[in-house]
Point group: C2
Chain length 419, copies 2
């Protein structure tokens, strides 16, 4: 097999561990120099490929690449930019081929969620449909945990841990104050269509009276009267009430409780701010003093409290992607496969990309309690191992020390391309 270069890009919302996948790819490619030459990263994701703005990861030291394992954000830049089908976005795919040819790229590693898997699938078809030989491997990543086939999406375990830790800590704060002050605390978490992250808050609960007392999932239509009744019962019984609410919480007719009105490049509505809506509702209807939080990016960038399991899995899917490429595979995605035993174990399997792209994994109804406000033992059994272990970054002067890659640009060989 003739030695070819590889292209790697980060896509969509970044996570606390996406750079661990990047490290897995770069380090593993370096161990396969007979097959893979350079690893070029797209600056700002796929846009870097289109604009021929490539970063030579070969210029990064071994120490910097290793430090990516504990560095949040997207080290090479990510983007929200979706390629449409081969016909509609023909100009873009032709440009990709032009750039790949110019830089002798034969491997395409795309690190993203469902939308990106779709792009990766299309790139994997360039050999058949447009005659350019390329192997495209998708590297799973999304805090939303909505990728199918894989038991979990790298990135989710860390945001789940963050959410559970915060629910426990803030819950203890409210418990101290509730006699004379805040009685209801509303904590908003990410999760546009699926309540995976909100569900993870439930892990904070060891005893039935522990917070969070109510979880609001996108999967369960919001019933105001039922919700307020549960809040009131909880305040009466426990003295306070902690609510974890998914940004995607909605009424029966599908209307989001909070709708910022704007849409992102994928056409998704930009949400945020359901916590103040819920808090105000509680104040207006029940008169309780409230506090609320919207962690937003803090939750998905919280590398300081990452799940060790998640970090390990993120690295493993990057490593496996390169190994699959070296083995001649195309149009696949490394997936996390959960072991059967009682003690948590996992291994890497292989998912065909055609079955991954544009399929959204919903949370099973069986993970949500009958009343719709909590997680069941089945949900707990699924979630608990994913937040296992701590993987602290190194600190200096009280602050985590994150990688600062040099991001050296590869010399351009082509004419500019207008996006």
């Amino acid at each position: 097999m003739a030695r070819k270069n590889a292209f790697y890009a980060q896509s969509g919302g970044v996570t606390a561990v996406i750079n661990a996948s990047a490290a897995g790819i770069i380090e593993t490619a370096r161990a396969h120099k007979d097959t893979i030459g350079k690893v070029y990263a797209g600056r700002n994701g796929i846009i870097g490929a289109l604009t021929e703005d490539l970063i030579d990861t070969g210029k990064e030291t071994k120490a910097t690449v290793a430090a990516l394992k504990h560095t949040p954000g997207g080290a090479f830049g990510s983007c929200r930019f979706k390629l449409k089908d081969l016909e509609t976005s023909k100009r873009e795919y032709e440009r990709l081929i032009e750039v790949f040819k110019a830089h002798n790229i034969g491997y395409f590693f795309y690190n993203g969620g469902g939308d990106s898997a779709d792009t990766c699938l299309k790139v994997s078809q360039l050999s058949g449909k447009m005659g350019y030989p390329i192997q495209a491997i998708h590297v799973p990543k999304t805090v939303d945990n909505d990728l199918p086939i894989t038991d979990v999406s790298p990135g989710f375990g860390s945001v789940a841990k963050y959410t559970a830790v915060c629910a426990r800590e803030a819950g203890m704060d409210v418990a101290s104050m509730c006699a004379t002050s805040t009685k209801v605390f509303v904590m908003e978490v990410m999760g546009r269509h699926a309540g995976w992250i909100a569900a993870a808050a439930g892990l904070a609960q060891d005893e039935p009276t522990d917070p969070p007392h109510i979880i609001l999932f996108p999967e369960i239509a919001f019933d105001k009267a039922k919700f307020l009744k549960k809040v009131q019962q909880t305040v009466k019984k426990v003295g306070y009430c902690v609510v974890a609410v998914s940004e995607g919480a909605r009424y029966a007719d599908g209307t989001f409780l909070a709708d910022a009105g704007s849409v992102d490049a994928f056409g998704h509505k930009q949400l945020g701010g359901v916590a103040p809506v819920i808090a105000q509702m509680v104040k207006d209807e029940l008169g309780h003093k409230y506090h609320w939080s919207v962690a937003d990016y803090l939750q998905r960038s919280a590398r300081h409290i990452a799940s060790a399991v998640d970090v390990e899995q993120a690295y493993a899917v990057g490593k496996a992607a390169v190994e699959m490429a070296v083995a001649g595979k195309n149009s696949v995605m490394p997936a996390i496969v959960r072991g059967k035993g009682k003690r948590y174990s996992w291994s890497i399997g292989e998912a065909p990309l055609a079955k991954v792209a544009n399929v959204e994994k919903k949370m099973p109804r069986s993970y949500i309690t009958r009343d719709g406000f909590g997680i069941t033992q089945a949900g707990r059994d699924y979630l608990a191992p994913l937040i296992g272990g701590e993987d602290y970054p190194p600190y200096k002067n009280g602050l985590p020390q994150y990688a600062r890659p040099k991001l050296v640009a590869v010399e351009k060989k082509l004419k500019p391309f207008k996006l």
Copy 2:
């Protein structure tokens, strides 16, 4: 000296380390059994004294008391309840004396901020003004860092560390996304009247282009045009802009940018939600896509990322308070005294309560840059040592294991008291 019991209460908003002070008090009192008998904690702060709802800390195991050192929230319950002067609140002070007498209490340890120092001062005057012999020692605590005399208020260092860590992490997230998505991130932090916490975000900045790019302090009147210009310049130069804003940010006429309208028991306005206001302003005037966060209680309960220096100081002021009591002192507060050398050092000094109560320490103007949007080297020199060191709690199954005190009630001896 006849052996007397001690009363301990937590007051006002809790912190990640107030229980470390509790541990310092309880452990040190246990080492002075010849002078101090039982340590009774007020359930829900001073209210517990008024309602004779006392917790016998002697029933807590050594392990539980030690675990308080790494447990956030207020283990015995706190409250927002302010005693007025001796004349106005005569009924309450008489009741305190009644409860103290009934339970042979001769030591009063009050763990709180400025308002609580005022209450503690009044209790310290009960000997002289109402003939009941008591030694009242204030134990400093407030995330707002606005207590005078002490170099820092325990609780602040940890929230400062949280804020700096989050600014760094979320900043890296935004940096990855800014090419096609979020360009401006607004991170709201606590600090009603003083910008100490907002200033701490500035520690995340190692290079001039690092986030946060703009800090909005309550001390500097908000100038919309100047702010928007700085945002636009930053986006142009760096590609994105991270703004850390204090909940107390206000216009020149004193109006808060966000004003929830309600007031707490101390008559303070309940603030929150300035981040969405700023974000919307940026969107409306400059058209940039934004994200925003309001960490609220998450920031002050984040024991998982506490500052080791802060934990140590919180414990030390608790310990010193008991030692001062044993030495016969009254109406004082242990204060943190910063050493003179270049290398950070600190010791415990003694502040007269009369000089602490109701005095609010403002941030020196010299800590804020001339343009009002950042911190100076002097500010950095003051803040940096306070976030030093990590002091992780123990974990089990991916979650921090916090103390669960038994909170055994002391038998009541008096008739009920109506608050």
